[in-house]
Amino acid sequence: MNGLQDDRPGYPLAERAGERVCSHSGVPLAEITLEAIRAGKIAPGDLTIDRATLGLQSEIAAQAGYRQLAENLRRAAELVEISTDRVLQIYEALRPRRSTYEDLLALGDELERVYNAVATARLIRQAAEAYRTSDLLRQEDAASGSSGSG
């Protein structure tokens, strides 16, 4: 094998690179065992996927021709760093008439600046433009809180 091939992520990671994978909290997969749980060494936070691993999965998808899935996994990699509550807030902000145009642009900028979430920011900016022409923005003057049409 040459160096070029070595750089490529093997699939499945479980068989090709399992020993190199760590959880988001940095625990190597090999150490995530029933014995470790018994010994109280594993916390819930040790069972989440890492940004780098999602990055590898994104590359694997892209190489197999699944461009949009690869982009989604790239966004997912970015969201790893963000708390669940904040992630749910981002989702909420994108639902119909929850945000102004400026809100969305600011959200995109924040994600890019704070989390280096370039792909997610790109999607949010795209939404901001789309919502502007589709009556999906929150109306400032009619800002009476919830405007969900249920």
């Binding site: 699939y11 197999a64 461009r67 982009e71 997912a76 981002i90 989702y91 999607l123 249920g150």
Partner: protein, 745 residues
Amino acid sequence: MDRRRRSKRFAVLDEREVNHDTFIQEWPEAGLVNMDSPLDPRPGLRIEDGRIVEMDGRRVEDFDLIDRFIAQNAIDLARAEEAMGTDSLRIARMLVDLTVPRSDLIGLLGGCTPAKLVEIVGHLNVVEMMMAMQKMRARRTPANQAHVTNWKEHPALLAADAAEAAWRGFAEEETTVRVARNAPLSALAILIGSQTGRGGVLTQCAVEEGISLRLAIKGLTSYAETLSVYGTAPAFRDGDDTPWSKAVLASAYASRGVKVRFSSGTGSEALMGHAEGKSMLYLEARCLLMVKGAGSQGVQNGSISCIALPGSLPGGFRTVLAENLIASMLGLEVASGNDAMSSHSDLRKTAKLMLQLLPGTDFVTSGYSSIPKEDNLFGGGNFDAEDLDDWLVIQRDMKVDGGMRPVREEEVVALRLRAASAVQAVYDELGFPSISDAEVEMAAYGHSSADVPDRDAVADLAAADRFLAGERTVVDVIRALDRRGYDDIAGRVLELQRQRILGDYLQPAAIFDEHVRVRSAINDANDYGGPGTGYRLSPERWRELQDLPRAVPPQQLVTNQDDDGRLRQEEVGPAGVGTAQDIVIGVGPAFGSALHRTLSGLSHADVLRELMAGVEEEGLRPRVVKMRHTSDCAVIGHQAAQLCGSGVAIGIQSKGTTIIHRRDLAPLNNLELFPQAPNLSLESYRAIGRNAARYAKGIPASPVPVAIDNMMRLRLIVHTTLMHLRETAEVRPGCDPVELKVECE
């Protein structure tokens, strides 16, 4: 014609189950049309400066939300001109051309607009769509998903049913809740149950997205498929989402290592009153491009809960297959419907199922109701627990893998017991309202929620609330299982968490096999290219699918053939031609020797006694002759007639089939034939004896009346074959008939 009088034929038809379904004519303006609405756009695409400026007849400034999302995210501009410039009929032919591989087509089809995709599949009839589906589905190995719910939301029953479904072979299990707050406990029950049945089964709980994501983060679920999209902007807005919000949600799930599948399907826009006059398939093509654009690895479609709506219109089930196919053409994993009830008629439901079952899809159903209909919280399943054996038999009939396998009752009960006990132990360890031993046992042996007691809903819901809000996660569940001696189940639940860290199952069409090895469109890509390629049942899998518990060695079916000792027969020499007062009863070579009872279980002693008594009643003398050179009924009868002074004879095989023959008739002709032995009673045999004598005497005889049972042949053809084989084994070619002296007790 008398207008007040009804045709009895039409009155009977009115009551047939299929006529409880609703059928309507097309109404395109309301979106009540499956394909080819006059308002559907023609395919078209214009690209300027690397950006789409016109798509399917609409200029960019007129784009709605969905056009915009598709144009920006779904269509592969590098292939678009080539794809749109290729005649749709030509692409349709490529889809069924065995020499064009899936991988080539996926690239080209990535450049198609919604209207183009619809135009392509419009050229295919259903058989061609099935051929295309066989080639285009993402994963080589087909699979199936189960629905596991119960009306009482009983955790022990949920766990038991989940274990059984996993053991039966389902790769994914979905539950949902009657009371939303119960979600954490129901998710927990099917997680434990599924992993008791088989490691690596993926589970989900269909609830509101926020809760759904929290359940996944706690490690209680491993996939989600509740992300619905709609084909018009107003329908989308009624769903309180946008393509962009759904795309972010998909990324949110993936960021926690959770597999995501979107949900769409024909009919939803018309149902919501927002079809904009477009055909259901065109709107679904838009949905599917959105699904792809949002980066979902797959979709559940095939109309799903709306299935009866396309089904009420012409071409409905063809359209549903077309939408499954379009999803596959876009490289998406497809869970292909067949979940919600599609008809009152079993015949119609089964015919519909063949469109997905025979070619195979990534998930043949997006939820086989593995529980009884009354326990299905998704609104009743198209196929239920009661239909499990039908499904298995169909797989065996067709040599097709529908993702299930035959199971043994004792294995299933043992697993159910273990799953229910495991959930009982976890409840105990985590301080949830206790599950009694009696509940565990009732769940293990039960069929539906009618077999388990009511739970204290208030207490369960309070525990569910605490579980969702609190710090406890799957780690506590694993620890509880381990502490109570369920370390194997604990290990499997843990393995699912390890897989979440790896993320291999985020790739298209991923499932885990029985060794928890991932199988997806990356490492198990569909490579169908005609006979001998693609998914084929391995010899082991085929043996497994054949092995119905009810299938027995055929030899076992010839039973109850012990000699009752009541027919004594003695060979007294070669049979001669007797007197004109004789009626010869020719018996088959196994009669009363190798075999002792007819198909319907009548003793040969009784049958022969009745035949002889009938002859004697008419004043003639019965003689019994055993044929040795043939087991054929007509030949036995004809030969017997040659040996009979009166010229009339009875021929009878050991299985009881009987003929009245006459010397001068051609062998295959007869006076009376009784081909269905099981319909013959002892009275019939006596009447046959009587009639034979009357024919010999030249007195009119009315044919022996016989009961008609149309199911007899169906029920007994195997037994018939086996008895005839046994009799034929006694044939001694060249051996002459022998005269018997018989005594029947």
